[in-house]
Structures are given as C-alpha cells and as structure tokens.
Amino acid sequence: MADAHAPSISVPLRFVLTGLAALAVGFGILVCRPDLLATYHYGPNVIALAHLFILGWLASLVMGSMYQLVPVALQTRLHSERLAKLHYLCHVAGFVGMVWTFWVWNMKQVGHFGSLLAFGAFLFIYNLARTLARIPRWDVVAAAIASALFWLFMTLCAGLFAVSAKCWPQISPFAPISLMHAHAHLGILGFFITLLVGVSFKLIPMFVLGEVQSRRRTWAALILINLGLASLFPTMLLASAWKFPAACVVATGLAIYGWEMLAILRARKRRALDWGLRSFLAALCLLAPLALLGLVLAWPSLPATEKTGQWENVYGVLAILGVLTFAIMGMLYKIIPFLVWYAAYSRHVGRAKVPALAEMYSPRLQIAGFATYLPGLAGLCIATVLAHERAIQAASALLAVSLVFFAVNVGLMLAHWFKPRLALAAGPNPMPARL
C-alpha cells in the first residue's frame, strides 16, 4: 500500500503510462496528418484523434490520478481496488477500439467499444462515489469532484446517445453537430475543467504553502460553472441563442476562479515556484483566451464560415492541448515522482537518506519541455486559424519534442522505482536548497 488511504501505485501508474503512450501517438498523428486541423472538425479522423487525446490521454491520466489522490486528499479509503483494475481493462479496450472504429467510421462498432468504455467509466463513477460517501467532512473540493462525476455520467450518456443516433437517426430530434458539441462541452467543461478547478483549491495552497483566501469565492466559482453548464448543455443541443448567456455564466465562474487563484498566489508563503507548478499555472492562464473564444463562438449571429470552423478547431486545441494537457503535464511532475517515491523510498524514510521528489528528474529537461511546449501550442493555434498544413506540422513537431523531454524525465523518475538510489540522496542537514 502506498498509503493507508490510497490504493497500490500500480493502479494509477498503469493509467498514467497508458495516457502518455496515447499522447505520443496523438502527437505522432498530428505530425503525420496536419491536414486534420486544417479542415472542419466534423469528420471521422478528427473525431478519432479528439477521442484519442480526450479518452486515451486526458481521461486515463485524470482517472488514474483520482484513484490515488482522492482518497488521500479527502482522508478516506478507495472503495474497491478490484473495480479500479477492471475499469482499467474496460477503459483501454474501449478507447483503443473507439479510436480505431471512429477512424474507419464504423459507428456500430463505435457503439460496442463505447459501451465497453462507458461500463468501465460507470465502475469508476460508482467506485469514486462510494469513496466520497465515506469522507468525514464535505468541502468545495469534494463538491467539485462529485459534480465532475455527475457530468462524466452525463457525458457518457450523451456520447452513447450520439452513437445510437448515428445508427438509428430517427431516434434523435437534434442536429448531429449540435449533439456532438454539447457532448464535448459536458466532457471537457463538466468533467475535466470542473475537476481542475476543484482540485486546484486543494493542490495549489498545498504546494505554495498558502491557503484559500475566500471560501465564498471558491463556492461561487464552482456553482456558476455548474449552473452555466447545466444551461449551456440544453441550449447547445437545441442550437438556441440562449447559449450565449449560459456561456457568460460559465465565463463568470471561471473569472471568479481566476480571482481566487490570484489571491492564493499573492498570499503564498513559498515565493519560488517550481516548473511543474509554473506549467500548471500557465495552463490556468490559458483559461482566459479559451473562455473568451468560447464566448465569441457562442455569439448567436456568428456566421458559419470556413474561418469560424477554423476558430472552432483552435477552441478545441486550446482546451485539450492547451489548458488540460499543459496543466496535467505540470501536475505529473508532482504525481509521478510522488508515486515512484512511495514505491521506492517510503519504507526507507527514517532509516536511510532518501531523495527529495525534485531530485528524481532533470530540472533542465523540465525547463526545456516548458520552453518548447508554449511556443509549440501558440504556433499550432496560429497555424490552425490559417489552416496552414506545413505550419501545423512544424508546431506539432515542436510539441512532440517537448513530449520527448517530458518522456526522458519520466524515464528518470521510473528508474528510481527499478533501482532506488539511496546513496544519491542529499543529507538532512544542511538541507539542499530547491529552486
């Protein structure tokens, strides 16, 4: 056991490694097929690629991390580790099958693999819901996790309905594109961003030695995001002009969230921020252009031109590869060393000198990764607006280079698992200065 509250690290680690493999394949596809971002996104290959990034990369990472961190952060125990292992099998088989069958556009098989994935995700929701039911004290973090699980459930239902509507069009009164957009917002905004907002109220104060400055602001942000999404979903589904006010409510929630994050950072005790945290915070800053673009795209009289389609692609890129991927890559510099440290060194604490988490990887590679990712992302957004395939390819290659830096660092971290380096640990006194 990694901790009295957490499952063994093999559960989260298998999700994390699967996610990284999916991200590598995703960037590989972007480099080889830059045309996918230079055209409108409602096509088999783009949908397959989006599901590779969202299910293979983001969902794997987030779900694996939640199995480890939710019980620890909320001081309870995971309901069932066996269910988590079963979920992993369903998840991998489901998303691999879905991506492939989306790519070849066999919607009947998408439905089969989607059902398998959804079954696994329902196990995840059940497992986490039972875990949440045990927590001693509810707070905004627990509420955010609970609402994210609800939106995940809704995303799965909407996704299964969308596939069914493709197989039997008569069952759906909604336009397929509206259904897809509504489904995507449930997943990205409801599950991932709600979770990001909630856990950052716990993680950021913990890492910067600070505290939440206004509990009212944290609740206001969470409530507005949830209310906004609850009204955004039906208005998108019905292609109603009311989606703009709904988007404004979400944007207001995100603005209040940004306000609170800024207040926490201003009041922090630990002045120096490590690069993992900087990545995470840079990703949060990207919420501002993302929300702004979302508002523009929600404008009722926006003409549906080719250019609008490209801006919609940028919106997706900014959400998936900007906010979420960059935030997760930053947080992985906390999560992976933490998992490996537990496996390799936890039992040696107090008996031998063990390395600090920051000593388990190369800060230079981390900085190189940060320095290549942001220009790569900016380039990809500009190239996508211009629908310039060569530029999309170059920017994707830069992102892939950043991923290589990250992968080498992950290798350095995992090396501690296979061969613990107790001898390399710094002495306890005087302490090594970090950052």
């Binding site: 961190l69 604490v349 107090g350 000198k353 063990v354 302490m431």
Partner: protein, 107 residues
C-alpha cells in the same frame, strides 16, 4: 575486560538530531526545521513525539510519521517510540527555523 560502551545521552537535543534525518520529500526540508515537531516526551528509553503536517490530507502522512518513528528507534538508547499527529495549533510557515526558511525559499 573492557567496560561496555555507554549509550549516548537521550535528551531533547538528541531526539531532534535524529528527527532531522527525516525529510519532507516535496518541500525538501527536514521535519525539525520545517517546524513540524511540537512536543517531545522522554521517559527512560521511551520517546513520544507530537508532530503535525503542513496540511491535512498530506499525501506523505504515513511515510513521514512512520519515518519519524524509525528514526527515533535508530537511536541506541530508545527502546520504544510513539509518534502522534496533532492539528492544533495548525502549522504555519512562521514555525520554521531560519535553516528551514532558507531551504524552502522563504527566507
């Protein structure tokens, strides 16, 4: 015949010294200089330490408390060690020593 080696003295300073071997791996500072050690009680060879953590729900909770116990037991004069986690008063960076503040970038 040589007399047996005398045990090193077991006092508060000695306990703090062994607890300095236990580092918070995230913050990169030992428990003592972080200001996490609140109280030390020594009765014969039995040591009881009251300590806190930087935050409730700290992922390192078990490792640090078990690590502190192992470190205490590494002292030859300690026969029994107990580590209790308390949350009152809550930890704040003002409890850190000057060395701890330098190590964590607060100074």
């Amino acid at each position: 015949m040589n007399p047996p080696n005398p045990l090193p003295p077991l006092d508060e300073a000695a306990v703090l010294e062994v607890l300095r071997q236990v580092m918070d791996p995230e913050i990169g500072c030992n428990l003592v200089d972080l200001g996490l050690i609140y109280n030390i009680t020594i009765v014969g060879g039995s040591v009881t330490v009251e300590m806190t953590l930087t935050t409730q729900g700290c992922p390192m909770h078990e490792s640090l408390t078990e690590g502190a116990r192992h470190a205490l037991l590494s002292h030859p004069a300690v026969t029994d060690a107990e580590v209790r986690v308390v949350w009152d008063p809550p930890w704040s960076p003002s409890m850190m020593t000057e060395a701890g503040r330098r190590a964590t970038g607060l100074a």
